[in-house]
């Protein structure tokens, strides 16, 4: 697959630079990890709140 040169497969955003950190008291966390954890909490809350499709089936359908 030589036509897929490294320029095509190279990253759009280059993350190969030293990380920024979130510093609070004794906590020093890399921004990327904080983003991941915050996203997990957001996704969890959204999963609880967003309506799940198929309500009509569950009300009237099924055996």
């Amino acid at each position: 697959m030589n036509f897929l040169g490294s320029s095509v497969l190279g990253a759009v955003f280059n993350l190969n630079h030293p990380a920024h950190t979130v510093d609070w008291s004794f906590i020093h966390m890399a921004v990327a990890n904080v983003v991941v954890i915050v996203l997990m909490l957001v996704v969890f809350v959204l999963a609880l709140l967003l309506p799940f499709p198929g309500a009509a089936h569950r009300r009237g359908g099924g055996s």
Binding site: M1, L4, G5, S6, V8, L9, G10, V36, L39, M40, V43, F44, L46, A47, L48, L50, F52, G54, A55, R58, G62, S63
Partner: protein, 232 residues
């Protein structure tokens, strides 16, 4: 007086016994049901299958990396791309697995004899951590050098380093590519089959709970419990 029915003879064939036990525990309609209880009505329920999906992407991308050997991804763009897929699939795997864990905890999903479902899930999470560690130390780059020389101290402190040497690339690669994924797949299979056997945990039964509470302690949860005594 009629005679007691004759006791069915236990088959002597191990094959028949295993088959009958399997079919009894998981008849086809339980193994692959085409319906779910109506309370399965929340997006939180998709995070279990999302974890399995992430595992599938990890295994496929990992297999391609294994096909070409551990050095491939360092010197080809395609190899680096499959390494990236493998790495991001691992991030996604832990992401969705932990959201699944949060959901199951707040549902108290171990109820109704489902303790083993919880326990197999917990062990899967705990085994996934050394699976990731063996992957990190198999990268054959600076990250692998640093992680292995640091992780050895924690493992040596509890004696595990005596037989699990993170600086031994050959050993770590073997654990990562075969032994630990085998354990993970086995645990996930057991976990899913237990869920199919027991069914998805039902909601907390507020009506019965309210009745039990009001019988035992008149002032406990009274107003809230009364308002949930709904009718269809």
């Amino acid at each position: 007086m009629s005679a007691a029915p004759p006791k069915p003879q236990r088959p002597s064939s191990w094959t028949v016994r295993v088959r009958e036990a399997g079919v009894a525990a998981l008849p086809p309609e339980k193994l692959l049901p085409d319906g779910q209880p109506t309370y399965v009505a929340s997006w939180i329920y998709v995070f279990g299958v999302a974890t399995i999906a992430s595992l599938v992407v990890i295994l496929i991308s990992g297999s391609i990396l294994a096909l070409k050997g551990p050095a491939w991804w360092h010197y080809t763009g395609v190899g680096h791309f499959f390494n990236s897929i493998h790495m991001w699939a691992v991030e996604l795997f832990f992401f969705v697995m932990v959201v699944h864990l949060w959901g199951k905890y707040w549902m108290a999903a171990w109820r109704g004899g489902r303790a083993r479902v919880w326990m197999t899930g917990a062990v899967t999470f705990l085994i996934a951590i050394p699976t990731a560690l063996t992957g990190y130390v198999s990268q054959q780059n600076f990250d692998a050098q640093w992680i292995s020389t640091q992780a050895k101290d924690g493992l040596n402190s509890v004696g595990v380093g005596a037989f699990f040497n993170v600086t031994n690339f050959g050993q770590m690669y073997s654990y990562h590519v075969w032994l630990l994924p085998l354990a993970i797949v086995g645990l996930v299979a057991a976990h899913v089959l237990l869920v199919r056997n027991h069914g998805v945990v039902p909601p907390f039964d507020l009506d019965k709970r309210a009745a039990a509470l009001s019988a035992a302690k008149p002032d406990a949860d009274g107003p809230a419990a009364a308002s949930t005594g709904g009718q269809s």
